[in-house]
């Protein structure tokens, strides 16, 4: 009789012989789960006079909260920015595969695209919880098209847009809908951006600054209007300058409202950011660092040549090049690789490395009361 059934009949699983990440420390504590939630064993004991139905011996392994990837463009041959005949199937395939990397929630990311792509994809990709069948979708990340021409990176120039209709109208016209959208990356120096930043923030959509030539005060203004994230710090923005640090300066800005914090994405694959630069950012603002993969279609594919859309990509080790060249065509890192590399390059603790991929993205998205932690009441995978 596992409990007096005063609260629930559902089976209780107790993970023993493990180290769990709780209160920013790895502790030798058992983890209790019931009905997809982390359970408080003391309450179970005293209130319900209950105990576990089944014990799982973790043999000393670490149990970490599931990783959350807020920037991933596809993988395993799937490209989220393509309006294929089976958009949902593509997202589901990637969702299933990234479980192996420890990712249990993600934001399918769309690069700058023509309106018809957004209209098609955004109606197909819905927010839903994860489980054994795949990581959960927390919403889409729309990286573009309201970005700077000079910092477009690999985004297609012809689909870039500005807020010529005043702001929100441009968004509705381009995207079609803001349902199932969790994050929008934009360049704050574009005229009319403050209205957009404020409106998106009010709707609960995270506004991220990126692919931009904004100076520090433009970036600070955007933060004051509600922006809270920086898309892949250092990449596609003005470099740090000691008289105008640009967007990078947000890491130590004193203009950020008291009750809020700026988070920043880092691709810690050892390729997209020099380790010394990674360390500078980390040391300047350790609690804001969010690990992202920014993985492209080629992630997860075996080494060699692959034709993806209009491009031929060559995978060599951790690098993905435009075939026949040494031009990087995107990241193929997996989240667990990023966590390990981040720890090794920054010298941070295991706890910090794990939190950069779990707690911090959860805090960024405002969902840390039920994701990104192993606190009582937080989401857990459904019992098997």
């Amino acid at each position: 009789m596992p409990s007096n059934k005063s609260v629930s009949n559902a089976p209780i699983t107790q993970f023993v012989n493990c180290r769990i990440l709780r209160d920013h420390k790895l502790q030798r504590e058992d983890l209790w789960v019931r009905e997809g939630r982390i359970l408080d064993p003391e309450k179970l004991f005293f209130d319900e006079e209950g105990y576990a139905d089944q014990r799982v011996d973790c043999e000393g392994l670490i149990i970490a909260p599931g990783f959350i990837d807020v920037q991933i463009n596809g993988g395993y041959g799937i490209d989220f920015s393509q309006a294929t005949s089976n958009v949902r199937g593509g997202v589901a395939l990637v969702a299933k595969k990234i479980l192996e990397h420890g990712v249990t929630s993600f934001l399918p990311t769309l690069v700058t695209s023509p309106p018809n792509i957004y209209h098609k994809v955004l109606t197909e990709v819905k927010v839903h919880s994860g489980g054994v069948e795949g990581a959960g979708v927390l919403g889409c990340h729309l990286e573009g098209p309201f970005i700077s021409l000079e910092k477009k990176g690999a985004h297609p120039e012809q689909y870039l847009r500005s807020f010529q209709l005043g702001g929100m109208l441009d968004l509705i016209e381009t995207y079609g809908t803001l349902d199932n959208v969790a994050m929008v990356t934009l360049a704050p120096e574009l005229p009319n951006s403050e209205k957009v930043v404020r409106e998106l923030t009010q709707r609960g959509i995270t506004v991220s600054l990126g692919h931009s030539v904004a100076n520090l005060s433009q970036a600070e203004e955007a933060v004051q209007h509600g922006a809270s994230f920086i898309t892949h710090l250092f990449n596609a923005m003005l470099p740090f300058h000691h008289r105008d640090p640009g967007i990078v300066g947000l890491l130590t800005s004193d203009q950020v409202p008291q009750d809020r914090m700026v988070f920043y994405g880092m691709i810690a694959d050892g390729i997209h950011t020099n380790s010394a630069a990674l360390r500078i950012a980390h040391r300047a603002h350790p609690t804001g660092l969010v690990l992202v993969t920014d993985a492209i279609t080629a992630m997860g594919l075996p080494p060699g040549r692959h034709t993806l859309g209009q491009q031929v990509i060559e995978i060599q080790g951790l690098h993905a090049y435009v075939a026949g060249t040494k031009t990087l065509s995107g990241s193929i890192a997996t989240m667990d690789m990023c966590v390990r590399h981040f720890k090794q390059a920054s010298g941070c603790s295991v706890e910090e490395a794990l939190e950069a991929a779990s707690l911090h993205p959860a805090q960024l998205l405002g969902i840390s009361h039920y994701k990104g932690t192993l606190d009582y009441g937080a989401d857990a995978a459904p019992d098997r």
């Binding site: 004991f45 319900e48 006079e49 105990y51």
Partner: protein, 275 residues
Amino acid sequence: MKLIILNDYGQVGEWAAKYIRNKILNFNPGPDRFFNLGLPTGGTPLGCYKKLIEFYKKGEISFKYVKTFNMDEYVGIPRNHPESYHSFMWNNLFKHIDIKSENTHILDGNAANLVEECDSFEEKIKAAGGIDLFVGGIGPDGHIAFNEPGSSLLSRTRVKTLAQDTILANARFFDGDLSKVPTMALTVGVATVMDAREVMILITGVHKAFALYKAIEEGVNHMWTVSAFQQHPQTVFVCDEDATLELRVKTVKYFRGMMHVHNKLRVTKTSGNLQ
């Protein structure tokens, strides 16, 4: 009474844990015959609890047929407050062993009717058949449980206002903020513990030495409530060197001598079941 004098805190914890283990094993509890154990909280019994957990993990003991009755609990702090005695018992003993929740009994400091809660606790002890072994500690003011100086030696489980000394001593668990320390507690009475078939009192540290002196070398006195156990037929006091510092040399030599003889007898008897 027996006074067992050991070298240090660690030895006291181990001795006490072995004593409890052996008592339970000799009793041989079963589904119709539970071993009823009275338990304290605080720094003193921690070492003993750690050892008991070790014995459980090694398979030397099971708490399946053991019932526990705790001595006390604060009034008015939430049950899951890190300093509540419920939290103490869960974190330092219950969560590591195979005891069932329905066999543990801790006074509820948030009960709607505190007097009824105390009376019902006495009933539960009676219904279980009385305590077989009550383990306790001693306060620097000689109190047993929260039976502060002046408590009747015939008292039963009731609500008590804590002495200023006790509140000061507890402040360290509440961020040093006196306003956060509970001022009342529910506690078993002196007579409640005296009703137990056997009593074991643990005393460690130099700050308890004066209380130990008052408890065993002076008379029975309600200002030092532990002294009541001079009139209990089966009590053992277990202490470390430091706690004996206020005793007469003669007393210490006498009890050390007794232990020496006892240990020699055991070795020659090779009874095997104790220590």
